[in-house]
């Protein structure tokens, strides 16, 4: 009895696997590149337009300065806001359904942040880091809805994944940078500037030299110069962070978009859905990295030095 049903299930899976594999092969041979390799004629309904990548976001409405990535960002804001509004409209002490799910997200994020940052600083970091994470995830996943980029107005696509516009990752990077510096000042006051302008050891060394203790002063002079130089490097690293934040997110999302486009061009059936799944995963990972790195830099900024 059980052996028979097991065998039947195995048969079903094998038939399905063979059918999917056959679909991949057929669609590859029918497409433009595959038919060129085999030497047959491309099948008309498998002939996908060659992928064209535009680095700059398009403007669907010619006289309005609104790009299609901006519209997508608005959509993801509306989706997030609507989700949280509906979920928290009539809250119950014992959550059910959507409220339960939202509380799960918030609780996991709170634990993730409080673990390295501690209770006091965790409450500072939590809103910004979680918002950045949720916004990037929403941007990445909204653009994975099938048919999302096919709607065209005035010959330009109406929607395009918001993270593939350089401006949106750059804006998020600037937000993250500003908040890190603000938290640094909030935690340490004006002495946060010591991280960047660390002249203390140099003055000490000069004082030693001018008070006649030349030998000890010359030894610590090098130390003083090094700490000044390290402070300047710190300024540079804080600024370069923004660039690396921007390009990491932008590059990953753009690479994903191009990869899906090329896979649809090469093999129109079955295979692109695997890459869709991969894109969903990478959107999540990139969002986690953006939020987590902001958290890490913030922790480094508020940390007390000995």
């Amino acid at each position: 009895m059980s052996g028979k049903s097991y065998r039947g299930g195995l048969l079903k899976i094998m038939v399905l696997a063979v059918a999917l594999f056959a679909m991949i092969i057929i669609s590859f041979i029918g497409s433009e590149v595959g038919s060129g390799i085999v030497g047959s004629k491309p099948i008309s309904f498998l002939n996908v337009e060659a992928p064209k990548y535009h680095p700059a976001p398009e403007r669907p409405f010619h006289h309005l300065p609104i790009t299609n990535t901006m519209i997508t960002a608005w959509i993801s804001i509306v989706v997030l806001g609507g989700l949280f509004f509906i979920g928290t409209r009539n809250m119950k002490l014992v959550p059910t359904g959507l409220q339960n799910f939202l509380e799960l997200i918030v609780e996991v994020a709170a634990n993730f942040i409080e673990d390295p940052a501690g209770k006091k600083h965790g409450t500072w970091f939590f809103p910004v880091c979680t918002t950045i994470f949720l916004f990037i995830v929403a941007n990445a996943w909204v653009s994975l809805i099938p048919g999302f980029e096919t709607i065209r107005i005035n010959g330009e696509p109406l929607f395009r994944s918001a993270n593939t516009d350089l401006n949106i990752p750059a804006a998020l990077a600037v937000v993250s940078f500003c908040y890190v510096e603000y938290w640094g000042f909030k935690a340490k006051g004006i002495s946060y500037l010591k991280t960047f302008f660390h002249f203390g050891p140099l003055w000490q060394a000069l004082k030693l030299i001018f008070t006649g203790n030349f030998k000890a002063g010359a030894g610590s002079l090098l130390n003083g110069l090094i700490s000044v130089f390290a402070g300047l490097l710190e300024i540079l690293s804080h600024l370069i962070r923004m660039v690396s934040f921007t390009f990491r997110l932008f590059g990953n999302m753009t690479a994903g978009m191009i990869l899906v486009m090329i896979m649809i061009f090469l093999v129109p059936w079955v295979l692109p859905s695997l890459f869709y799944g991969m894109e969903a995963f990478f959107g999540f990972v990139q969002a986690m990295i953006f939020g987590g790195l902001t958290l890490g830099f913030a922790c480094a900024a508020v940390m007390e030095e000995e």
Binding site: Y53, H54, P55, S244, F247, R248, F250, G251, N252, T254, A255, V285, Q286, M288, I289, G292
Partner: protein, 78 residues
């Protein structure tokens, strides 16, 4: 002249991506090796190792992504 500019752009983009992928490839290999070693020593910590490995891989991959951005800029913008 136009042709040579195009040639230089395409070669530059290909070299940028190809050479830029070497380092991250080695890095991801080392990361995988470390994760496998850790898994062999401590199979119970599978979840934590997996999460941290994926985070590390994403960081190593970011370097290749910079090379990709340079290649895209060379082909489409420059």
């Amino acid at each position: 002249m136009e042709t040579w500019t195009t040639v230089a752009k395409l070669i530059g983009a290909g070299l940028a991506m190809g050479l830029g992928a070497i380092g991250p490839g080695v890095g991801i290999g080392i990361l995988g090796m470390g994760a496998m070693n850790a898994l062999g020593r401590n199979p119970e910590a599978r979840g934590a190792i997996m999460t941290n490995m994926i985070l590390g891989i994403a960081f190593a991959e970011a370097v290749a992504i910079y090379a990709l951005v340079v290649a895209i800029l060379l082909i489409f913008v420059a």
